[in-house]
């Protein structure tokens, strides 16, 4: 059986800021596959290329090399304008819900936006009915539909962000750090909502996060990225209990337990608490 999404040797480059004509490699030859209904975790630190990889899959940044196949068909070569029908199947949930909503539009208008753009033949009453149904599905009270983004809490706004991604009935969701802007007491509500919706709709999902513990709760398979490369791809329990790559081990060893003895042991073991840290290589 072929995978729903196949990423082969995907490479993403950006022009260097110094404008010397060279390019920085954000993603260097990423290869993985995702099955229908699977939730795959993608972890790594800032600048490792995880967001660029997610955006490349959605056709938002071009590939410099490699290929991306969706249901067996190459989609990385599809020109931007022709990508629209695919947009209905592949959707994105953003990190910062506050920044991803137009402050001058009501929640209902923003959530309806993808329908307006991708299913223009739908009548206004049908569109309104879809918006109402989807807001209910993500647990937003109907009276919030007429409000503006600044009138909602961070958690409510992220629910709206999920509703906006789901309204076109996608088969695949890229969630790019969907809970990292939220408080701990609210973060779990969103993680659980995503888990439930994914289960009920049989969605495939690439869940991108810097937080290994959040990913551990959700994903059965995890990719670890470091400096633009996928350095580990395995089942959650293998990765967490027997990581093969030294970087994965470093990442795991940096997670603070909420327990003083363990947390203190962790920071006391940092070599740099005593030794000097070398200056990083400066990018030209």
């Amino acid at each position: 059986m072929s995978a729903m999404l196949e990423v082969r040797n995907a490479t993403v480059t950006f022009p260097r800021p110094a404008a010397d004509g060279g390019r920085l490699t954000a993603v260097g030859g990423a290869t993985f596959a995702l099955q229908a209904g699977e939730i795959l975790g993608l972890v790594g630190e800032s600048g490792c290329g995880k967001s660029s990889l997610g955006r490349a899959i959605l056709g938002l940044v071009p590939l410099a090399a490699g290929e991306i196949r969706w249901r067996g068909r190459r989609i990385d070569t599809v020109p931007r304008e022709a990508f629209r029908p695919l947009r209905r199947e592949l959707q994105l949930v953003f990190q910062d819900p506050a920044a991803s909503f137009d402050p001058r539009m009501t929640i209902a208008e923003s959530v309806a936006e993808p329908l307006r753009a991708l299913v223009p033949q739908l009548s206004a009453p049908d569109r309104a009915a879809r918006v109402e149904a989807i807001l209910g599905e993500v647990g937003l009270a109907v009276e919030l539909a007429a409000r503006y983004p600044h009138q909602l809490s961070g958690g409510q706004l992220q629910r709206a962000g999920i509703a906006r991604a789901l309204i076109v009935d996608p088969a695949f969701l890229v969630c790019d750090e969907p809970v990292s802007a939220l408080d701990v007491s609210v973060q779990g509500q969103i993680v659980n909502l995503l888990a439930r919706i994914r289960r009920e709709r049989g969605l495939a999902c690439l869940f991108i996060s810097h937080n290994l513990a959040v990913v551990a709760h959700l994903a059965e398979r995890i990719l670890v990225m470091h400096r633009g490369r996928i350095i580990e791809d395995g089942l959650r329990d293998e990765i967490l209990q027997a990581p093969r790559h030294p970087y994965t081990r470093t990442l795991l060893d940096s997670v603070l337990a909420v327990e003083p003895v363990a947390a203190r042991r962790l920071i006391a073991a940092r070599p740099s608490s005593r030794d000097a840290v070398a200056a990083p290589e400066l990018t030209p």
Binding site: D183, S185, H210
Partner: protein, 319 residues
């Protein structure tokens, strides 16, 4: 014994209509060499409390105390607050860029601080600056001195910001690692712990991260909706929370060994100043009773262990 820092009935208000109150009657103290963490979520008032203590509130904010550092009032008097900063209070912020002047070389900024704090000449100040960089474990201080802040990584900038503090008796830190990657975060926390020990420095750290509390704090104060709802020694509070909010927060932390559903606290905290009668956590509390919505619980118990709840979890701290 008098505390190094003594905060009593601190309120912080912001101009506006209705005047949003960020901090609502907070009392706490920090002893010499003690490390106190204030933990809370956004809107809890924790950052405004810290800014008020350091005299750095925004212009439309006003604080009432007293807040005493080594017995002297430091609130409401910009000059005495600035002097206190020079004479024993240091601070680091979430983003180290705020502590550093972007267009000046690292060395010049350090030398200036060294000259001001030690009253020495330039030659001696340069030596002091090199020593300061060594103390925060930055390699090749001489070459670093010639660099500008933007040429450094986030973790290195935070180290320089800490170096700029000279030798404070108390360091105020506002989530100093929240903008950093986890691998760098552990290094900066290790550095802070080491400096507290080496310099005999007290620490008041504000954070949303209970892992940081576990790693650094002797004692913890938990804030919710402008107030301290629980205070206790870190080991006791983290293993046997008494306030339902503390318990909920601890349960909600995602853990590497966690699978499936995360524990959550329903609802969201009230917006700053949008407070109501009775316990402010009551609408989200699994143990609320009728009079929780009427009677405001006060923080009761000794400074080492207090809780503001009508129905706290009970049990001994010495298991």
């Amino acid at each position: 014994m008098s505390a190094l820092l003594e905060v009593r009935d601190l309120t912080v208000d912001f101009a506006g209509r209705p005047a949003p109150r960020a901090v609502d009657g907070v009392a706490l103290s920090v002893a010499a060499r003690e490390r106190l963490a204030i933990v809370g979520e956004s809107g809890s008032g924790k950052s405004q409390l810290l800014l008020a203590c350091t005299g750095l509130l925004a212009a439309n904010g006003s604080a009432r105390g007293p807040v005493r550092f080594e017995g002297r009032e430091i609130l409401g008097n910009a000059r005495s607050a600035a002097a206190a900063r020079g004479r024993g209070i240091g601070f680091v912020f979430q983003d180290a860029s705020g502590s550093l002047t972007p267009h000046r070389r690292i060395g010049d900024q350090l030398v200036e601080v060294a000259m001001a704090s030690a009253g020495t000449g330039r030659r001696a100040a340069v030596d002091a600056a090199v020593e300061m960089l060594g103390r925060v474990r930055l390699a090749e201080p001489a070459s670093l001195m010639a660099r500008y802040p933007h040429e450094l990584s986030g973790g290195m900038r935070q180290r320089v910001a800490i170096a700029l503090m000279a030798r404070p008796r108390i360091l105020f830190a506002d989530d100093p690692t929240t903008a950093l990657d986890v691998t760098v975060q552990a290094d900066i926390l290790a550095l802070l712990a080491q400096l507290c020990e080496d310099l005999g420095m007290a620490l008041l750290i504000v954070t949303h991260d209970l892992g940081i509390v576990a790693a650094l704090a002797d004692r913890v104060a938990v804030m919710y909706a402008g107030r301290v709802v629980e205070v206790g020694m870190a080991a006791a509070l983290l293993s046997r929370p008494r306030h339902p909010y503390t318990a909920g927060l601890l349960a909600a932390v995602p853990r590497l060994g966690g699978r499936g559903e995360l524990a959550t606290i329903p609802g969201a905290p009230p917006a700053p100043g949008e407070w109501f009668r009775g316990c402010r956590f009551a609408p989200r509390c699994p143990h609320r009773a009728e009079h929780c919505g009427v009677d405001d619980p006060v923080l009761a118990g000794p400074a080492a262990r207090g809780v503001a709840c009508h129905f706290p979890h009970t049990g001994s701290d010495t298991a």
